[in-house]
């Protein structure tokens, strides 16, 4: 049992995929501890297990073995409903493809995770307004995602991730679908959030952006090979 006071503690995490008779070890004995307020970049070549690790961190997937403590709570063995609750309250996601819902307005997209908490409407409205303000998108609240540029969509996605005040932000290649200018802008935004106290875990294969983090973790063939200061 691990308990070192970290916000995230992974110990001996393994993930094995079985397809037909082939066993694929996506992660092997991963040890990762992220302190509150820390900004960690997970990098590595394509297929090294970055996304699998992020999925386990985000409770989108479960490890085949190992322990996972999130804010002191053992979460590896939670049932689907409890995992959904933890995801909703503790984790904010930022995806490479933005993954905004096209049929909802910008404000409705940001409000969406809050609606799953049964939060009163007034409070939801306040939080949406604050989140929009933080990412500088208040003027686009009633627009639909298709009416925004890629950079703007990612800013909205960041607003959606932070609106619920999660314990940690998980960003999966947040600049992957953006040009360099918009990519830089999004990285600046994440840095700003980090400076204001946000804990961030970011998957990236771009070394330029890994340097925005406090610490860089490198994966190779599912194993953590190096942990360096960015």
């Amino acid at each position: 049992m691990i308990d070192n006071g970290a916000l995230i503690s992974l110990s001996g995490i393994k993930k094995v995929f079985y397809t037909d008779e082939v066993e694929t070890h996506a992660l092997s004995d991963v040890e990762l501890h992220v302190a509150k307020g820390e900004y960690v970049a997970i990098s590595g070549p394509s297929g090294c297990g970055k996304t699998t690790l992020l999925s386990i961190l985000g409770l989108l997937d479960t490890p085949s073995d190992g322990e996972y403590l999130l804010a002191g709570q053992q979460v590896a063995g939670l049932n689907p409903a409890d995992r959904a609750r933890v995801r909703n309250r503790q984790i904010g996601f930022i995806f490479q493809a933005f993954n905004l819902i096209g049929d909802l307005t910008v404000a409705e997209n940001i409000e969406l995770p809050l609606t799953y908490r049964d939060m009163p409407a007034n409070e939801r409205r306040d939080r949406v307004a604050k989140a929009l303000e933080r990412v500088g998108m208040s003027h686009r609240a009633r627009h639909f995602p298709a009416q925004l540029s890629g950079g703007q969509q990612q800013r909205v996605a960041v607003a959606r991730a932070v609106a619920g005040d999660p314990a940690i932000l998980l960003a999966d290649e947040p600049t992957g679908n953006l040009d360099s200018k918009n990519g830089e802008a999004v990285m600046e935004l994440l840095s700003e959030l980090h400076q204001n106290g946000a804990t961030i875990c970011m998957v990236t294969h771009d070394s330029r952006y890994a340097h925005y983090a406090d610490r860089e973790v490198q994966l190779f063939d599912g194993k953590m090979v190096e942990a360096v200061l960015a």
Binding site: T51, T52, S55, G58, L60, D61, P80, A81, A84, R85, R87, N88, R89, F93, F95, Q96, A97, N99, I101, G102, D103, L104, L112, P113, T115, Y116, R117, R160, D172
Partner: protein
């Protein structure tokens, strides 16, 4: 509310697809709602009276020697004599009361305007037993039917008061002429109450003791004249079994001690069953009507058909939602990642499907109304006026419930399936790929196979009904009905006595004959091929009518040139002439079935017969052989197009001293449709107060006689075609989706050397399998259904090979048509584009 807003947005996002889905549902739910309207009105609706479930209908099946007269309220097993009614009414203790009723045709003088329609003769206990209150004045009560022929009082039906009197508040106390006699209006029945017999919509209610005044009836004391329908209300706390025992304690001694000794010439066996007769009690909440029995099979059949149409529509929408769900896999994954539970997502998706169904449900009311209009247009006008199927609150409630149930039914699987998304792959790919895609594809293919099976079954059934209708239309009627117009006049109800009636009918005959283009005019008491029957017991020279020997025959009273008018050549003898009148030798013409039944042989003409049992056209009881047969005619249709020709004898109406009504037939070189107005003008010129009823062409009369066959054929064919088109659309949708999903595979195949024909075959093979499996199941289903629907088929087996073949070919063509477009599209795939695209 958020769910509903998003659901509306989703529907509007793809307006064409949503419109097709709503239209499919509207057709499916609307067809069901229309049939439910008939089901509700004919089979379910309780009388609008106090505690209708406490009402019971009385019957006493068994031998009824004597005269029976039954109508829409039920067959001749459920009627009683007037004396038996009074005996039961007096002595019974199980009911709060026993009520009697009998429908009759009325000619009314309403504010100097002649009006015809239905009336109802009711006992004084009728309204008290029903426990209803008048809308105006009072209803008839026990004091109104104690003395035969003494109470000239009437109660108006509410709808008639509204329609003909403009809801005149001073209607009570006014007088109204009913069948030539003046009656005082004492009240108006409550709104919505239209009597107790579905299929009859009385305008007026008169005391049953007034039958002698509104009809020529005198046999009040005759226990062998059966004509009254009875119902009763159970006393509180008395079970139906106890009531049955109680009423039979009264009935049995009357049968044994009073009525059995009156029977003459009855065999021991028949006497034993006569004495064993018992009163039966059946639930009477819906009133008394033969429609309940007659309509049950056709309505249940149509209900099954429309349910299948709806199932097919649901399968289409389920397929559509599955495809749409695949497109929204990323959205579902994101929502799950953001903390939504599966319940949240299923609720959202079900809201969308239920909203779709509710929209379809609202639109279905228009489809239902249209379908009901179609049904009403097929029905005979008299029946359509009585039934007036409509979109009642019950139908709206049914549509609403069906819509919600439908929405859940077709939305549940897609909702559950679409929310099983693999979070990681869907979020990463953002390409809308669902895991379990193979399962979904299997499910979609299964749905289409089921649709094909159901369509196959329906197509076969509709082919059977169509062929049956063709058989009906090819029936040799034995008469030529083209070029003939017909109508009814009832001088008796307009106040004519018999002598004046004879003069009038003769005048009408002459004036019609004088019309330009008219070649023949004749008349008959029993309308040809209308479903009406008149029967009588006869004695025939050389034929022994002993106990238990059926000596019954249908009869008609006809005018001169009757058979010439219908183009029928006599086998022997002559037609009636104007010389065959009262006082002359009583004469008859018989058909070959009559001659055969009574062993008259080919030499029937010249032999004698006699009529027994009331009513006698010659007047009075007469058992002697005093009627000479002067003509022999071939067997021509009498009452029903589909029935075999019964033995019939014809008598000249001029020898009937009590003639009161006549159906005229006018053959003309002018199209009969154009004659109708002229005929009305002629009668109006002779007597403006004499209503012309049932004015139509004989071709129309024949069509109305087989309206049930036409209705079932038309509706089942329309629904089967609709089902097949829906199944075709479903097949097209599934194949299109499958081709889109397999674009890369097709590209690879083509890159490896497959040509267009290979790719087309790949897709069409899929169609072939589905048609083969679905078709085989459908044929099996149709074999069973055909056997069950045998009673509705005319001169046709439920496994008629031609009907099956036509349906199979039609379905195969439609399926191939639906599959061809996606197959062609697949064959045109550009391999480079397909591989790059993926």
């Amino acid at each position: 509310m958020r769910n509903i807003t998003l659901a509306v947005r989703m529907l509007l996002k793809t307006p064409f697809v949503s419109a097709i889905a709503i239209l499919s549902l509207a057709l499916g739910i609307g067809a069901n709602a229309a049939i439910y309207s008939m089901f509700d009105q004919l089979l379910m609706r309780k009388l609008p009276v106090q505690e209708p479930t406490q009402l019971v209908n009385l019957s006493a099946p068994g031998p009824m020697p004597g005269s029976t007269s039954c109508n829409q309220a039920g067959n001749c097993d459920v009627i009683f004599s007037y004396q038996m009614f009074r005996d039961l009414e007096k002595a019974q203790a199980s009911f709060t009361g026993i009520a009697a009723h009998r429908a009759f045709s009325v000619s009314l003088g309403v504010r100097n305007e002649p009006v015809t329609g239905d009336g109802m003769m009711v006992s004084g206990s009728y309204f008290p037993v029903l426990g209803i209150q008048p809308a105006k004045g009072r209803l008839l009560g026990p004091d109104d039917d104690q003395v035969i022929g003494a109470n000239f009082v009437t109660v108006l039906a509410y709808w008639f008061w509204e329609e003909s009197f403009g809801k005149d508040p001073n209607v009570v106390g006014q007088t109204m002429v009913i069948n030539g006699k003046s009656f005082t209006i004492v009240g108006v029945a409550p709104e919505g109450f239209n009597g107790t017999t579905a299929g009859n919509k009385p305008k007026v209610f008169v005391p049953i003791s007034m039958r002698g005044e509104v009809q020529r009836f005198t046999r009040w004391d005759d226990r062998q004249t059966y004509w009254i329908y009875l119902f009763a209300r159970l006393k509180p706390g008395v079970s139906i079994e106890a009531a049955r025992a109680g009423i039979n304690a009264v009935y049995s001694p009357i049968i044994s001690d009073v009525e059995a000794p009156l029977q003459k010439g009855m065999s021991d066996k028949t006497m034993a069953s006569f004495k064993a007769k018992r009163v039966l009690l059946d639930p009477g909440a819906r009133g008394q009507s033969s429609i309940h029995r007659e309509a049950k099979t056709p309505i249940m059949l149509l209900f099954s058909v429309t349910a299948i149409v709806l199932l097919i529509a649901c399968a289409n929408i389920a397929n559509l939602l599955l495809a749409r769900g695949a497109g929204r896999a990323t959205e579902m994954g994101v929502r799950l990642a953001l903390g939504a539970t599966r319940r949240h997502l299923v609720t959202q998706l079900l809201t969308e499907s239920v909203l779709l169904a509710v929209a379809g449900g609202i639109a279905s009311l228009f489809v239902a109304q249209w379908t009901l209009s179609l049904i009403m247009s097929i029905m005979p006008p008299e029946a359509a006026e009585t039934m007036a199927f409509n979109i009642s609150p019950a139908v709206i409630a049914f549509s609403g419930l069906l819509s919600i149930a439908t929405g859940i039914a077709f939305g549940l699987f897609p909702a559950l399936h679409s929310t099983r998304a693999d979070l990681i792959s869907t979020i990463r790919a953002g390409a809308g790929q669902l895991t379990g895609g193979r399962a979904a594809a299997r499910f979609r293919a299964s749905l289409v196979t089921v649709q094909i099976a159901l369509s196959m079954g329906l197509l076969i059934m509709s082919a059977l009904f169509l062929k049956s209708l063709m058989n009906v239309s090819r029936v040799d009627l034995g008469v030529s009905v083209d070029g003939i117009a017909t109508f009814l006049i009832v001088p008796r109800r307009a106040g004519y006595d018999s002598a004046r009636t004879t003069v009038l009918l003769t005048q009408v005959e002459r004036e019609l004959k004088a019309l330009p283009g008219v070649s023949h005019v004749t008349g008959g008491m029993v309308p040809l091929m209308s479903g009406d029957n008149w029967g009588n017991s006869v004695k025939v020279q050389g034929y022994d009518c002993g106990p238990d020997v059926d000596c019954g025959s249908r009869f008609n009273e006809i005018g001169t040139d009757y058979f010439k008018t219908f183009g029928v050549a006599l086998r022997a003898g002559r037609e009636f002439t104007e010389a065959d009148q009262l006082g002359a030798q009583r004469v008859a013409i018989v058909n070959e079935a009559f001659a055969k039944k009574f062993n008259l042989g080919p030499d029937a003409v010249g032999k004698f017969m006699g009529e027994g049992g009331p009513p006698l056209p010659g007047g009075g009881e007469n058992d002697s052989l005093n009627v000479q047969i002067v003509g022999l005619v071939p067997n021509v249709k009498y009452s029903q197009v589909k029935d075999s020709v019964p033995p019939v004898y014809y008598r000249p109406w001029r020898q009937d001293p009590n003639i009161g009504a006549m159906y005229f037939y006018v053959r003309s070189a002018v199209a009969p449709e154009q004659m109708l107005g002229t005929l009305r003008t002629v009668i109006s010129r002779i007597d403006p107060n004499l209503p012309v009823e049932e004015l139509k062409t004989m071709r129309q009369q024949v069509k109305e006689n087989v309206f049930l066959d036409r209705m079932i054929s038309v509706l089942s064919s329309a629904f089967a075609l609709l089902a097949t088109v829906l199944a075709g659309v479903g097949l097209y949708g599934v194949l299109s989706y499958s081709v889109t999903q397999r674009t890369r595979e097709i590209g690879v195949r083509m890159a490896l050397g497959a040509d267009g024909a290979n790719v087309r075959a790949l897709v069409l093979r899929q169609v072939g399998w589905m048609v083969l499996i679905g078709g085989a199941i459908g044929v099996g289903f149709a074999l069973g259904a055909g056997r069950a629907a045998r009673s509705l088929l005319f001169e046709l087996q439920g496994h008629d090979p031609l009907s099956f073949t036509i349906a199979v070919v039609l379905l195969a063509v439609i399926a191939l048509g639906a599959g061809w477009i996606p197959a062609r599209r697949a064959a045109m795939t550009d391999p480079m584009h397909a591989l790059r695209y993926d």
